[in-house]
């Protein structure tokens, strides 16, 4: 029993940490040898993972900044702490990426996407991005069937071995940034409990310059301030027969200015956003002979209040609020049938409601149900996986027309071969069909929404190869993937009525041919020195194939760069080191038509940081890091006229017990 508990604990935490890919296999492999798992899993073709130590090196302001160092990603950042940040993976829109935190789905039916600028990174123990097979253990059924999945494991909501743990992070940075996180957790044989909280603020008033014709336009970002906070508590109980129960409550709030695009000659900006959120998560899991299972439930309340006092209407501006609520219930299971054949699956139901505060608004409600069944079959060196997901969406609207109900079947197949020897290597090919529902805003927003919108469909093919040459003094890993994706019924906004009133239409078709490469090298230099280097490169030829008669036919899709990459290099002597980090992007177009007037310049941004770790008695660890970001003070933007900050500084202090 003890042995099994350990295995389940280990497999759970390993998977949650993101090493796991095919969860069933992980269970099996853990029984064989934990080292073997780690060795194999680092060769993963589909998933990319960063753990706490690696994340600390980057000192990211939020989860968006961590995900940027993965390949296959296009980050869109509107600038500023807490500002909107989204990612698109392999040329699919941002709404094709699912998010799971500690095994619970995070979603927003109103916008259909998660603002990564408001998902903070201090509590993250591991984060992974997976395409193809989804990375995680007994995930909600919905997590398996999306285009890609970001899975985050936090310090706050896990069983750990250490009896008492503390995490403290304090940051002081440019543009008035002050930021404090505190988390405390105790663990006993049958129970764990944690409390945590964070407060951050920033004025965000950074100077910028941008090219205005042949002149340099200089300004300071205004109305870019932020105050936000969160707090919560988590409790977990372990029972006989490997049963576990977890309950977590978290609340957060934010009050921020929305600076908007830089408008030449008009520097006014008065829009503000306040948000308030409450989340309750609970799950119950267990292992019984060859069956492992999990039941989960989530309630989420989200209030968003938007004001624009300078809007020129008769009531002296806009003041609107949006109340989103979601209820989720689900269960997932895995069962080993034969030693080389596993079944897994689950069901999930998600009920979303949205209330607009404005008169004559829609009151959309949606019941989205998921069912998933899959199996993996392993032979020596070969593994194959098949999944089928069925999804049903039922829509209601008390005030006006409703969107039609939808029923979809989504297949996934993959095949993989691996060999271990002087050169460990692995090859994998997979196909997935997925879709994303139009968001409530896209369907029902006053004057803009279109209830006739169909879901946006995506097909992904991918084939890749990874290798790990075994060397004594240095370690190296290479992953290469090629992919061909197609998005149909793409939802695009186009102006209707006049240029200020846009509406949503299923008019887009996008084909993407891409390639990504990841290289990781580690080398010990003498007894005290250690060098780590990682490089990622992504090529995405993502073209608009909506209409052969359009001038933008076969042009590169707006805001998808042809080339992106990043290089990280760290050099460490014992516990002190330096880290260089670069982010590269080729030019992009702000609109579909690939003409000079639409070009947004490419950029190369360089960060450097110095850090030292001090180990104190009783597993007390102190870490101090000084970072200079954008050291060459480049002016750049992800989105045209949403300028990013120039050179800026950040001092971080991390303190941890265990």
């Amino acid at each position: 029993m003890k042995q099994k508990l350990f295995i389940s604990f280990f497999s759970c935490s390993v998977c949650m940490l993101g090493y796991g890919q095919d969860t069933l296999k992980t269970l099996k492999e853990v029984k064989v040898s934990t080292m073997e798992v780690l060795r194999m899993k680092t060769l993963d073709l589909g998933a990319q993972t960063l753990t706490r130590e690696q994340i600390l090196l980057k000192q990211p302001q939020d989860v968006g900044a961590i995900l940027q160092s993965f390949s296959g990603i296009t980050l869109k950042s509107y600038g500023g702490l807490g500002g909107l940040k989204t990612i698109s993976v392999r040329g699919l829109g941002s709404q094709h990426t699912g998010y799971v935190v500690d095994g619970f789905t995070v979603s927003n039916a109103q916008t259909g996407q998660v603002n990564l600028g408001q998902v903070q990174a201090d509590n993250v123990e591991a984060i992974s991005l997976s395409v193809g097979s989804k990375n995680g253990y007994l995930l909600p059924a919905s997590a398996y069937s999306g285009g890609s999945l970001v899975s985050i494991s936090t310090f706050e909501n896990r069983f750990s071995e250490e009896p008492f743990q503390v995490r403290f992070a304090s940051k002081v940075g440019s543009f008035g940034q002050m930021d404090n996180y505190f988390g405390l957790k105790f663990n006993r044989a049958k129970v764990f409990g944690s409390v945590f909280g964070k407060y951050r603020q920033a004025s965000g008033n950074y100077a910028y310059s941008l090219q205005n014709g042949n002149q340099l336009y200089e300004g300071t970002r205004i109305n870019n301030d932020l105050k936000d906070w969160y707090t919560g508590a988590s409790l977990g109980f372990a029972f006989k027969n490997d049963k576990r129960l977890r309950i977590m409550y978290k609340t957060n709030g934010a009050n921020q200015g929305l600076p908007g695009a830089v408008i030449l000659y008009n520097s006014t900006a008065n829009q503000r956003l306040t948000t308030q959120n409450h989340t309750v998560n609970t799950d119950f899991s267990g292992i019984r002979k060859k069956l492992s299972y999990r039941f989960m439930g989530t309630y989420n309340y989200d209030l968003l209040h938007y004001t624009d006092p300078s809007f020129l209407n008769n009531t002296g501006g806009i003041s609107t609020s949006y109340t989103n609520q979601s209820y989720q219930l689900g269960s997932s299971f895995q069962r080993t049938i034969f030693s080389n054949f596993n079944l897994f699956g689950g069901i999930e139901s998600r009920y979303n409601t949205l209330l607009f505060s404005t008169a004559n608004s829609a009151t959309p409600r949606r019941l989205h149900s998921f069912a998933l069944a899959g199996c993996t079959w392993s032979r020596p060196q070969w593994t194959s996986e098949v999944q089928l997901s069925a999804q049903q969406v039922i829509e209601e609207n008390n005030a006006g027309e409703r969107a039609p109900n939808r029923l979809k079947f989504l297949p996934f197949v993959s095949i993989e071969k691996e060999e271990f020897g002087d050169w460990d290597w692995k090859a994998k090919a997979w196909y997935r069909h997925s879709f994303r529902m139009p968001s409530f805003n896209e369907l029902y927003y006053n004057g803009i929404g279109n209830v006739k919108l169909k879901p946006e469909e995506a097909d992904q093919f991918s084939a890749g190869f990874s290798a790990k040459p075994l060397r004594k003094k240095w370690k190296m890993e290479i992953v290469v993937n090629g992919f061909a994706n197609r998005v149909t019924n793409q939802i695009l906004a186009i102006p209707t009525k006049n240029l200020f009133v846009w509406s949503m239409q299923n008019i887009g078709r996008v084909n993407t041919l891409g390639y990504e490469e990841r290289i990781k090298i580690s080398k010990s230099i003498g007894p005290n020195w250690m060098m780590d280097a990682t490089g990622n490169y992504t090529y995405q030829h993502s073209i608009d194939v909506s209409n052969p008669n359009s001038p933008s036919y076969k042009n590169q899709v707006a805001y998808i760069p042809l080339h992106t990459g990043n290089i990280d290099l760290s050099l460490m002597r014992k516990t002190t080191g330096v880290n260089f980090s670069t982010t590269l992007s080729s030019l992009r177009y702000s609109l579909m038509e690939n003409v000079v007037a639409n070009q947004v310049n490419g950029f190369a941004i360089f960060d450097i940081s110095l850090f030292t770790k001090i180990s104190l008695p009783k597993e007390n660890n102190l870490r101090i890091q000084f970072s200079v970001k954008n050291i060459f003070n480049s002016s750049y933007a992800y989105i045209r006229y949403f300028v990013m900050p120039g050179r800026n500084y950040l001092i971080t202090l991390n303190y941890a017990i265990h």
């Binding site: 002149q215 020129l312 290099l569 260089f580 702000s590 038509e593």
Partner: protein
């Protein structure tokens, strides 16, 4: 050693990154045989532009303003007119008026249209005597002295005024109230041009937009309705009595005078059909309800008549996010040629 090499590599990359831009061609020669096209651009993209089309070579360049002024025009170019040898460009979201010399296209002045910290958001311009009148979305008509190029007065009108026209020594201003949708305005403000005071408001129908004066001094305004069950209609105002005389029973989006006639343009958003009708403004009857039909356009965005060669210049916005075209027709409505210009073409100034 490796890190040093790496640093050197970084520096090389940075050094190579900066592109030097070629200096702008500065020409003070008088412009001739061509046209300047104001291209509205798209909201929050700062890509309003002027296209220069050279009729002798057929070439067009979308960087005319930047070539002349060494800077960008700004966000959302909404109106452009010539008066007293100067070009006035109304840049809505940037909240500026750009004044240029007509003969050369050289920049004379940028007038900032701010009211304290609030952008006035100017929309359209018209002229009378030594004054220019500019509708501002904050509910005023600004009076600009065309000699000193300064704002001398603000006249309060209705909400979110759009078009404006002059007849019988009075200024007629279409109050759209568009930012109060669905509770839009329905009135036209009448301003006495002697004392610059609002005299009355005439109720014409929901969401007034374009407004023009015919050759006999009658005022016609488009009440754009609510884009669903209330259609967009042309309404005639008698400028002697300031009363609504007629509401015409056909779809109308914009009015362009052509001698004694009107070219009435209409783009149906739900069917994506473009149409230009020919209306006799003297007899007040429809001459040809489908004078220039849908086959000639992707998205009709406006029309302008050039009296000197009696040709009709139509704006095709394509899908609004791709660069547009100016399509030229004879006075009998026969298609002749097209010029490729910038994003969302809106107004033309012609050079003989």
């Amino acid at each position: 050693m490796r890190s040093i090499k790496f640093l050197i590599l970084l520096l090389v990359v940075v050094a190579c990154k900066k592109k030097t831009k070629p200096p702008a061609p500065v020409t003070d020669t008088n412009l001739k045989n061509g046209m300047i096209v104001l291209c509205e651009g798209l909201f929050q993209q700062n890509n309003a532009a002027l296209s220069w089309v050279d009729f002798s070579t057929g070439s067009s360049s979308n960087t005319f303003f930047t070539d002349k002024a060494s800077r960008l025009l700004g966000d959302t170019g909404n109106d452009m007119k010539v008066y007293g040898g100067k070009i006035y460009i109304i840049v809505n979201v940037s909240s500026t008026i750009e004044v240029m010399e007509k003969a050369t296209g050289n920049s004379i002045k940028q007038i900032s249209m701010m009211n304290g910290s609030v952008a006035k958001q100017p929309r359209f311009i018209t002229f009378h005597g030594s004054n220019a009148f500019i509708t501002c979305y904050d509910g005023y008509v600004d009076v600009l002295d065309t000699a000193s190029l300064t704002i001398t007065q603000r006249i309060q009108v209705g909400a979110n005024p759009e078009g404006l026209t002059i007849s019988n020594s009075k200024l007629y201003v279409a109050n759209s109230g568009g930012l109060n949708a669905p509770n839009v305005d329905s009135t036209v403000s009448v301003i006495n041009l002697q004392n610059l005071q609002e005299v009355t408001k005439i109720t014409v129908g929901k969401n007034p937009g374009d407004i023009e004066t015919d050759s006999q001094g009658d005022v016609y305004v488009i009440a754009r309705g609510n884009y669903s069950n209330i259609p967009s209609r042309m309404v005639k105002i008698n400028a002697q009595t300031d009363q609504v005389v007629t509401t015409f029973p056909f779809d109308a989006g914009g009015i362009e005078p052509m001698g004694d006639n009107f070219l009435i343009s209409y783009y149906n958003n739900s069917t994506s059909v473009s149409n230009i009708a020919l209306f006799d403004a003297v007899a007040e009857t429809m001459t040809n309800a489908s004078f220039i039909g849908n086959a000639q356009f992707t998205t009709l965005y406006g029309v302008q008549y050039r009296p000197s060669n009696q040709k009709i210049y139509c704006f095709d916005a394509m899908n609004y996010t791709n660069t547009g075209y100016v399509r030229i027709f004879s006075s009998s409505g026969t298609y002749e040629s097209s010029y490729h210009v910038g994003l969302n073409p809106k107004k033309i100034i012609f050079y003989e």
